[in-house]
């Protein structure tokens, strides 16, 4: 019993360290500028300024940043779910020449850090005329070696008897993939979806490099340039930071179970 109290004590100290920055972000975001630089600081805002959030929308086109981020995230995620699961089906179920070689080639992409491909991609997308368009934000992010690997591993675990029965019923491979494999692979698909959503929403270096006009800005780039502009107005900055991260916090709270199952399944945040 006594040892349980100690465990709680240690865990609570850790939890406080985790939560205080969030608390401080929200608390500051509701203060007036004067109150935010007051010494000693107030713990809670004396008169909550919800107008700070309106001010964020007035000083930058945050609404547009939301739309851009949403389109980038949705485009990448839907495409990855479809394209990666198709490839995974082939590697799990079909017999074709050079299957292993192609699979290993795809896996080798996992080793290449993003920064290495950044500059040649910038040149390539310039060539395509895609720089500063949604094509640059979405298309290269539609393909994921990690997604193929994760789904292939999961598909291998689905009993083959299921598709053999379907084959006898005259199903094509597309039919087996669509009607047998996909419905049976929901946990893995949800895991991949959550990873892709999270990484696209929070992505920074890629959109920073591949877009330059204000109308193409996503949230991460938006708040970073916001910081450059209002570097000392911390209530405004904290409101912007909180606004940009709210959707992911909400998603996390609702999809916690899936997210944690997914991490245990897929291994890592990529």
């Amino acid at each position: 019993m006594k040892s349980k109290i100690w465990i709680h004590l240690v865990l609570i100290v850790g939890a406080v360290v985790m939560v205080v920055p969030f608390f401080w972000m929200i608390s500051t975001s509701l203060k007036t500028y004067v109150e935010s630089v007051q010494i000693p600081p107030t713990i809670m805002p004396s008169d909550p300024q919800f107008s700070n959030y309106l001010a964020v929308f007035e000083s930058a086109d945050f609404f547009l940043y939301y739309i851009n981020t949403f389109l980038m995230t949705a485009g990448r995620t839907l495409a990855q779910l479809l394209l990666c699961s198709m490839a995974a089906y082939a590697f799990a179920r079909l017999v074709f020449p050079f299957k292993n070689t192609i699979f290993i080639l795809i896996l080798s992409v996992l080793m290449v850090p993003m920064q290495v491909i950044l500059i040649p991609n910038y040149a390539l997308l310039t060539e395509f005329g895609w720089v500063d368009t949604f094509y640059a934000l979405i298309v290269p992010g539609m393909f994921s070696a990690f997604g193929v690997f994760l789904l292939r591993q999961f598909f291998m675990g689905i009993p083959k008897e299921l598709d053999e029965a379907a084959l006898i019923d005259g199903c094509s491979h597309w039919g087996i993939y669509w009607r047998i494999i996909l419905p049976n692979a929901k946990p893995a698909l949800v895991a991949l979806a959550i990873f892709t959503i999270l990484n696209s929403w929070n992505d920074f270096l890629w959109p920073l490099v591949m877009t330059n006009s204000e109308s193409m800005r996503v949230l991460s780039v938006g708040i970073a340039s916001f910081q450059g502009q209002y570097s000392t107005d911390f209530p405004l900055l904290m409101a912007a930071a909180f606004l940009s991260t709210i959707p992911m916090l909400i998603m996390f709270i609702f999809l916690q179970k899936h997210l944690i199952a997914g991490i245990s399944l897929g291994g890592v945040r990529r």
Partner: protein, 310 residues
């Protein structure tokens, strides 16, 4: 009889061949899109970046051959050497701290205690938060004049360091934020590993009179070494590539020997602020070699401490 048998055999071979043929078309349809995409946007650029490292290129006019000039310039540059050392220090400190902290938290969370889900949620919150936003919040917490941390330290009567402006501790300050941000991810992974450890081991050791400490070091730790290995390798690879936090916390001070700049920051600065694409590619390529080398060392070293046989 023999005739029938041959006919039968060729019959199956025929259908098998037909099936194989069918598979080929399906394989092109299923794998084609992803392979084409990965080839265009990942494989080809990775190879191109190797070539670009040996050129001078401003991103607009045609690149010209530079031989080893970029590499030589890098190793003669104080700025790059500083970034290289910073990147190694960053990973060298962040990874052991994250993994050991995460192991401790995961072991505590693995006890049957009330509120486990709440703790897990709270520890994981920073992982889903946008890194740029995390950087901004911590800039504010670290603020020397009005920051919460120094205010609290002042009350307790402790010294109030200039977290990000004191060159001796600036990097450590950023590492602390990074650990704060990523530890939850490792906790979840290690927790999954711990839950795979069969309870019978503990029961047997209890009969033998083993203490909790003995149990942890002699049973738990060896059994989760495969998980710990995985967590170490992946967090090493990601921490070598840290950018968002550095970008936000460094502010607008290009080309200065900044105490918190990393290699990836240098790639961005050279390539996209100073238009030295060849020079930037050389830095990216060195980073890639570093990641490869450290990963190989890890895989080679695992024989000494990872137990797969349980």
């Amino acid at each position: 009889m023999a005739n029938v048998a041959t006919e039968h055999r060729t019959g199956t071979r025929h259908t098998k061949k037909k099936k194989l043929h069918d598979h080929r078309l399906w394989a092109v349809l299923f794998v084609g899109p992803v392979f084409l995409g990965l080839f265009t946007f990942y494989m080809m650029p990775a190879l191109a970046s190797f070539g670009l490292a040996f050129t001078f290129w401003d991103g607009l006019t045609a690149p010209s051959f530079a031989g080893l000039d970029n590499i030589i310039a890098l190793f003669n540059s104080d700025i790059f050497m500083r970034s290289l050392v910073n990147t190694i220090v960053f990973t060298g400190v962040a990874v052991p701290v994250t993994v050991s902290l995460a192991t401790m938290i995961a072991v505590l969370l693995n006890q049957r205690i009330k509120g486990m889900i709440i703790y897990r949620t709270l520890y994981f919150l920073p992982v889903v938060t946008m890194p740029v936003a995390v950087g901004m919040v911590w800039l504010w917490l670290y603020n020397t004049e009005f920051g919460l941390i120094n205010y609290v330290l002042g009350i307790i009567g402790l010294p109030e360091p200039e977290w990000l402006f004191n060159p001796n501790i600036a990097l450590l300050s950023v590492i602390a934020v990074y650990v704060w941000m990523t530890v939850g991810n490792s906790v979840i992974l290690i927790l999954a590993g711990l839950q795979g450890v069969s309870t019978t081991y503990y029961e047997a050791s209890k009969i033998d009179g083993a203490s909790k400490m003995d149990q942890f070091f002699k049973i738990t730790l060896p059994l989760i070494t495969p998980t710990l290995f995985f967590v170490t390798v992946t967090s090493m690879i990601t921490s070598l590539q840290v950018f968002d936090l550095i970008f936000v916390m460094i502010g607008d001070t290009p080309a200065i020997v900044n105490p918190i700049r990393t290699i990836v920051y240098g790639v961005y600065e050279s390539g996209f602020m100073l238009s030295q694409m060849g020079y930037a590619s050389a830095q990216a390529f060195i980073l890639f070699l570093m990641i490869l080398l450290f990963t190989i060392i890890q895989f080679w070293g695992q024989k000494k401490w990872v137990h797969y046989d349980a």
